[in-house]
Symmetry: C2
Subunit: 415 residues, 2 copies
């Protein structure tokens, strides 16, 4: 792996400048240079590119103390639309964003248990993408891309879902299947990296060099922001913390191993924690993860002992496992994300903080904050849309150096 | 944390170019540009700086097919000396290197149990540093710096050893103490990062973006090379994998927690594995880690069942714990380093590979090689000397931007 070629650095700088413009529109080239650490000349070049792409616009001038008035730029919200697709075990969420990453339209399709053949999933995604484009009334030509997040291990270059443990998918050519129905540029990745990039651009990881985004849903994993960028690993499969061993010879996991973190702190693991504590509990909705987690959250709010105990037991497992990430990576912030974290909220967070403190070393512990994700929408949709935005920004560089466009990119309008 | 300021990038590029020159002297600017991905203009500037510093020299020309002859440069081995200090639980090793990182002199001081007050350690280091300078007969003015590795958590900016669990050191101002006796520029870090930087510059991590260097000694930890550079974390304490929980409520660790990786695969942990299997084994040398590990290595070589079983049990623990690093970081290579790994060698490696394969996910597993360190000298000394080399290269940038030199740098000759 080569790092730091001038084209990589240029793309990273382009991300950084647009990120900063989105966060602080309107802003000046001088402010951007100060905020990013880049030279004014570099900022001016990158701002020029973004203006050419109509991703940003000139919006007037501000007085500078004693000097010439400074030109202001702002994100051109209507300069394009981005679509984020969150394919999860039980649902498909799709959101359409403007370039300021405001949600313009949403669609949701529920997937019944067993309804998980690739063709079925592709059908749900196609319907929901069509729905958001129609709802928002955007022209097809303005859709810059569709980011698709699918659980498990994915090859983003080939668009293949290599392994999705929940559905027993092996080497499903998901982007090829989707491209038969969807004509926008498509980008594939997984929810760990989608939620991490969402926090990096718009959430708690912004401005932090090292952050960990812990996803707690049906599946469990950690998206890693290291050195200010997404850490993918050599084969784009970093972050599989949910399938690291927490209990030697422990519970059997769907990945085939025993004692994985996910089997104790994923939605199904939490159901098992409840079952072991109180097999007849009315909080337990067999076969319905969402209802059970909701019942637990309500139970904790009402002070029910069983619910409180289950959340505490879960937090103890989670604390030991999060402490691994704190000790190994020494991040500035750990973000708890995804639907289980969102629903169990503050009571889970409090217990997790205590448990991490019992397991982590003092020095890395003192440097880390643990927080709940503050992203107000589905972070995986937002992150998937961000991949489409990054893809559009990367194509700029590829055009100017005569490189091939990504395999799945098309310029034709939507079907 | 800010990343990617132009000064940081320039320093990283300077490291990269010198690393490449050391690896492939003599070489041309054109070859350096091709190997590093930097532009020829950038390479030419950096080569000019290194020539000015006399770290490299012009060594002639080579014909280029049809073009002008190309100037060749090579590392100027005698252009300076670097000293690496490896302070371990039972010994102090010191090595003096030329600029091609050849060892010119070695000194070793043994530390008896209990002989671990900071003043005693400083005495040993001072004596050994004086010895290697005298042995090598180098002028004091040619010593570019001394890198010092001390176990535990260190603050490299202040030169304070914050916490060394083996000695119960808390906030020892080690560089201040050393600078009363040693007048060369001093650099403090810990063995995890020293061995990682040694592999990054000279070993198995060279040319790999993502690598993990697993240190197996009395202490246990993982040095991380991510994105082509050392990953330090926000407070320079990344890599404390030895103190992550492997067995919930397991063995009591010297860090105060239970079930840490180190208590099962560090030298003392391996002694405990042996004790639990065969309390009366003649392989067990109570109070002598080195003798016990040596006896185990000899036992395995002779096919003794108890020794084989202890190494297998240790590898099972180690495999589960290394799989955590493989799944979370998805590295290209995992290097087993430090004295326990060196002594148990191939038989341990084979068992570890099998155990990791049982615990890691297929995709990251397929991308990772697991190897023994091939560095022929003490990797911690080599890495500590490399920190001194990096420090010298960084001072170039700091001089040219009028920044302060590091707190511990002096230009006076050695005492
Ligand atoms: Zn698993
Ligand atoms: Zn410990």
């Amino acid at each position: 792996m080569k790092r730091g070629t001038s084209r990589d650095i240029r793309t990273a700088n382009r991300y950084e400048v647009l990120r900063q413009i989105i966060a602080s529109s309107p802003t000046s080239r001088q402010e951007l240079a100060a905020a990013t650490g880049l030279s004014l000349a570099t900022v001016a070049t990158l701002v020029g590119e973004l203006l050419d792409l109509r991703m940003i616009t000139e919006v007037g001038f501000e007085d500078s103390a004693g000097g010439r008035p400074r030109g202001l730029v702002a994100v051109n919200a209507s300069g394009g639309a981005l679509i984020g697709v969150d394919i999860a075990e039980t649902y498909v969420h799709v959101e359409l964003f403007d370039l300021a990453l405001n949600v313009l339209a949403r669609a949701e399709e529920n997937m019944r248990p067993g309804e998980s053949r690739p063709e079925q999933v592709v059908g749900h995604v196609t319907a929901a993408v069509g729905s958001v484009v129609a709802q928002a009334g955007v022209e097809a030509a303005r859709v810059l891309g569709v980011g698709v997040s699918v659980p498990g291990q994915v090859d983003r270059d080939t668009g293949i879902a290599e392994y999705a443990p929940n559905w027993d998918w092996h080497d499903v050519p998901l982007l090829d299947l989707l491209s038969e129905h969807i004509a926008y540029p498509l980008y594939l990745d997984n929810p760990l990296r989608a939620s991490a990039v969402a926090e990096l651009w718009f959430g708690a990881a912004r401005g932090h060099g090292d952050a960990v985004v812990v996803n707690l849903g049906t599946g469990v994993g950690a998206g890693l922001v290291l050195g200010g960028g997404l850490h993918r690993g050599v084969s784009n499969s970093a972050g599989e913390w949910g399938h690291t061993t927490l209990v030697l010879d422990g519970r059997l996991c769907r990945c085939g191993n025993h004692g994985c973190v996910e089997t104790y702190v994923g939605a199904l693991g939490i159901m098992q924690n409840l079952r072991e504590l109180s097999p007849q509990s009315p909080l337990l909705h067999p076969g319905d993860q969402t209802a059970t987690i909701d019942a637990l959250a309500a139970g904790v709010a009402a002070g029910e002992q069983v619910a409180v105990k289950v959340v505490r037991d879960t937090a103890r497992y989670l604390g030991a496992a999060v402490a691994v990430l704190v000790n190994v990576l020494n991040p500035e912030v750990v973000v708890l994300s995804s639907w289980v974290a969102a629903r169990l909220g503050e009571p889970l967070l409090e217990e997790v903080r205590e448990a991490v403190a019992r397991h982590a070393l003092k020095r890395p512990l003192a440097a880390s904050r643990i927080v709940l994700s503050a992203i107000p929408t589905d972070p995986v949709c937002l992150g998937a849309a961000t991949f489409a935005l990054e893809g559009a920004l990367q194509r700029v560089g590829q055009r100017s150096t005569k490189r091939a466009t990504p395999a799945r990119s098309r310029t034709a309008p939507a079907s």
